[in-house]
């Protein structure tokens, strides 16, 4: 089971991870074009300020995820093989009730306009990549992927 591991002391707060996340989940795959299309940047990893230190907040893909039990449409599901929690990979569709946002203890679910409908968005562990974009982008090796089964 893969998780994102954060080495807090090393974080400089540069937000390159946020940028990489935005680009990875955009159609344009390029920040300049993305902004030129006048889209609001939406990240799924959040570098926040806590006790005057930068702290990257990431989805923990929890074992008994509260976002899954709270989801009223049933779109939020845990992949049996990878243990990744996603809401965009099932037959059900997000209806925008925001119960997942309310219940997430880490505050890492946001909303985004998709096909004229507001939907919840969250970390999908970069489904199309081997290594998540944020991990690759981090200049100080703050974020890494670890396999907690090992």
């Amino acid at each position: 089971m893969k998780k994102l591991f954060i080495n807090l002391e090393r974080c400089f707060g540069c937000k390159r991870c946020e940028l990489a996340c935005i680009i990875e989940h955009s159609e344009e795959k390029n920040y300049a074009y993305y902004l030129l299309n006048q889209k609001e940047p939406k990240t799924r990893i959040f570098v926040e300020n806590y006790l005057n230190r930068p702290i990257p907040l990431v989805c923990h893909h929890c074992k008994d995820a509260l976002c899954i039990s709270a989801c009223i449409s049933g779109c939020m599901q845990k992949d049996e093989k990878t243990d990744i929690v996603r809401n965009d990979n099932s037959e059900q569709k997000c209806v925008g009730c925001w119960m997942c946002i309310l219940n997430c203890p880490f505050n890492v679910i946001d909303r985004e306009m998709k096909n004229d409908e507001l939907q919840a968005i969250k970390c999908d562990f970069c489904a199309n990549r081997e290594i998540p974009a944020c991990v690759e982008a981090c200049p100080n090796e703050v974020i890494s992927v670890i396999d907690i089964n090992e």
Binding site: R10, F12, G13, C14, K15, F46, V47, E48, N49, Y50, L51, N52, R53, P54, I55, L57, N107, P139, N140, E141
Partner: protein, 629 residues
């Protein structure tokens, strides 16, 4: 995402009161904007982010020890630092040039000003070969022209101003290092060429260039500003006045002169005396007529010479961080500003909300949608008249008024001459009290205020209180003076907070333990006092038991001033940490190695009490070397 610990609030009660008023009115202030910017990127804060070319931006990281071009952390840090130093220097020189232009125009009879200090002009002009027996206007014309030609001279011609005015011992040091500067604008242009992509990678050369600019900053900037302004509007004299936001009068048309260049303000003060304007203001319902106030450094400079204008000048309002809160009183009818330190939110958010009429008076500070009455030496009276008329018009648009009740007094107007006068014509009494240890030493606490490490003003206040408690005389300048005035440290009352020995010295001279030298551009006057003491004792500046501190430094002029201090051999404490810590080499040079070259160095400490420890230690070491106990 709101995981934020509220840390930053104004430190003093008056600003905090106005902060609450602004928040209640739904205004977003500098404190909210600071929080929204958190966390800020540490690559920038450490100085190891380079945005010069399109192969970048590059940062020096765990993975990357060089930028794409090959620049190391040391090079990126020193390039960035030199860039800031250039900006600070040219800004001070720009101000000096405006004053020189006015002096020249006055000499040519094309200005609304007279020569107020002819003797001062004669004595300085004589040093540069201008015959002091010529008519005074002719001297003004020649000196003004000479000064402008110095600003515009090339970097390969050593500045006459430096060669003639600098203390001999300093000149030797600078000559040895090869840092006697030429014309500042040319020096700046050369510096900017050096820091282009793929040009210079000699860190020492780049830092020495910072010192060159520091020296140019003093003589073609700070010194020129103070001297020529005094020639045109009079020399600072100690006088008592009221300070802080609480002095605004709800029953008067309030005009605030905000910025750094006091020449126009003097004309506004003179115009405000005219009966027709005072009557007109009263007709409009302002029963106390028109009142003029100063804010920022401009206010400090008016305050310095305010003994002549007590009937129309009603005091110094505050420092740069307070500007939004000043407007939020709703009692400011006109805010007239020249260059430097005007937040964009003043014209975009605060002035429209609180009815204030904005007028900009310098071409560099144009703001969209704000009326421009740009200063020309021969239009000062005309502009001053318009300003007053506009303020009276704006008075009618007032809404709710909220003025804090607290107000303090302060004494300002200290300068080398006035300190000498207060001491009975010689510096000897000051030297005696320093020698016998009643006054351990002198610390200049100068520069901006910031919201970074603490509430704005907190570091300044705590450090200053600690220094005077330890019998160290404090000289304030710039927004630091305002921060001290806001907590009543520049009045005679403050002697209660001073150590026993310092307090008794100050009481016997009827001066506060914190002397305001005026604006941030008056830092030149502090250096001239240090030179005068060193000359009297026949020692060099690094030998004196003095230190300087910029405990809440913020912008680029402070960087240039910092290098001025280091070039003059003064130990300078800085907080917040300057963006150099990403390079061990540059940090070591600035905090250690440079002391062997100029006698000055930088110390960085973010805690006010520990800062006081370091400054005291510095002063005690210097005392020991002089053979004082």
């Amino acid at each position: 995402m709101e995981i934020k610990k509220i840390k930053n609030r104004p430190y003093d009660d008056i600003t905090d009161y106005m902060y609450n008023v602004s928040r209640k009115d739904g205004m977003e202030t500098i404190y909210e904007r600071f929080l929204q910017q958190q966390p800020q990127c540490a690559f920038g804060a450490l100085g190891i982010c380079c945005t010069l070319c399109t192969d970048g931006p590059c940062q020096i990281t765990r993975k990357a020890k060089r930028g794409v071009c090959g620049a190391t952390a040391d090079l990126i840090v020193s390039r960035n630092l030199l860039q800031k130093c250039v900006q600070g220097t040219v800004a001070n020189v720009y101000h000096a040039r405006n004053v020189a232009k006015t002096l020249l125009a006055t000499g040519e009879g094309k200005s609304d000003y007279e020569i107020k200090e002819p003797e001062k002009l004669k004595s300085i002009a004589e040093k540069f070969g201008i015959n002091p027996n010529k008519p005074i206007k002719e001297i003004a014309r020649e000196f003004g022209k000479f000064f402008i030609s110095q600003i515009n001279s090339n970097d390969y011609e050593e500045l006459e101003l430096v060669k003639k005015l600098a203390p001999k011992k300093r000149l030797e040091v600078w000559k040895k290092l090869g840092i006697i500067p030429g014309g500042p604008n040319s020096e700046a242009a050369t510096a900017l060429s050096k820091i282009m992509t793929n040009v210079n990678n000699d860190v020492e050369d780049l830092l020495l260039h910072c010192l060159r600019l520091g020296i140019a900053n003093e003589y073609t900037g700070l010194f020129g500003i103070t001297t020529m302004q005094e020639i045109l509007v009079g020399t600072a004299k100690p006088n008592e006045g009221k300070v802080n936001i609480g002095i605004l009068d709800k029953d008067a048309v309030n005009i605030i002169m905000h910025g750094h260049q006091p020449l126009l303000a003097i004309k506004v003060l003179e115009k405000a005396r005219e009966k027709k304007f005072q009557e007109k203001a009263k007709e409009e319902g302002a029963k106390n007529g028109i009142k003029i106030y100063g804010s920022l450094c401009e206010g400090q400079q008016i305050f310095n010479i305010a003994s002549e204008y007590k009937d129309v000048f009603f005091g110094q309002i505050g420092n740069w961080i307070q500007q939004e809160f000043i407007i939020a009183t709703g009692a400011v009818d006109a805010l007239v500003f020249d260059y430097n330190c005007v937040m964009p939110t003043i014209s975009e958010q605060f002035a429209p909300k609180y009815h204030t009429k904005l007028i900009s008076t310098d071409k560099v500070i144009r703001q969209a949608g704000v009326e421009r009455l740009e200063f020309e030496p021969d239009k000062a009276n005309e502009i001053a008249e318009k300003i007053i008329k506009e303020a009276i018009k704006a008075y009618k648009n007032r809404g709710e008024v909220n003025i804090p009740e607290l107000k303090y007094s302060a004494i300002s107007g200290f300068t080398t001459e006035s300190v000498v006068n207060a001491l009975g014509g010689t510096l000897k009494p000051l030297i005696d009290v320093i020698a016998n240890g009643n006054v351990k030493g002198v610390a200049a606490v100068v520069g901006c205020t910031t919201v970074r490490e603490f509430h704005s003003g907190e570091h300044i206040t705590k450090l200053t209180e600690e220094l005077i408690k330890r019998n160290i005389l404090v000289i304030g300048a710039g927004c630091c003076s305002s921060a001290m005035q806001n907590v009543n440290l520049m009045s005679l009352d403050a002697n209660k907070k001073a150590g026993k020995n310092l307090a008794s010295v100050c009481k016997s001279l009827s001066i506060p333990p914190c002397l305001s030298y005026g604006s941030c551009t008056d830092i030149g006057k502090i250096i001239s006092t240090a030179i005068a003491i060193a000359d009297t004792l026949n020692v060099d500046i690094p030998d004196l038991p003095i230190a300087a501190s910029a405990p809440e430094y913020m912008e680029q002029k402070a960087v240039a001033d910092a290098f001025t201090a280091v070039a003059f051999g003064i130990t300078l404490h800085l907080s917040p940490a300057p963006p150099v810590l990403g390079s061990q080499l540059v940090t070591k040079i600035l905090t250690q190695d440079v002391e062997n070259l100029t006698g000055g160095k930088v110390i960085v400490e973010l805690d006010p009490i520990k800062s006081a420890d370091l400054i005291e230690e510095q002063i005690i070491n210097k005392r020991k070397k002089l053979g004082l106990k």
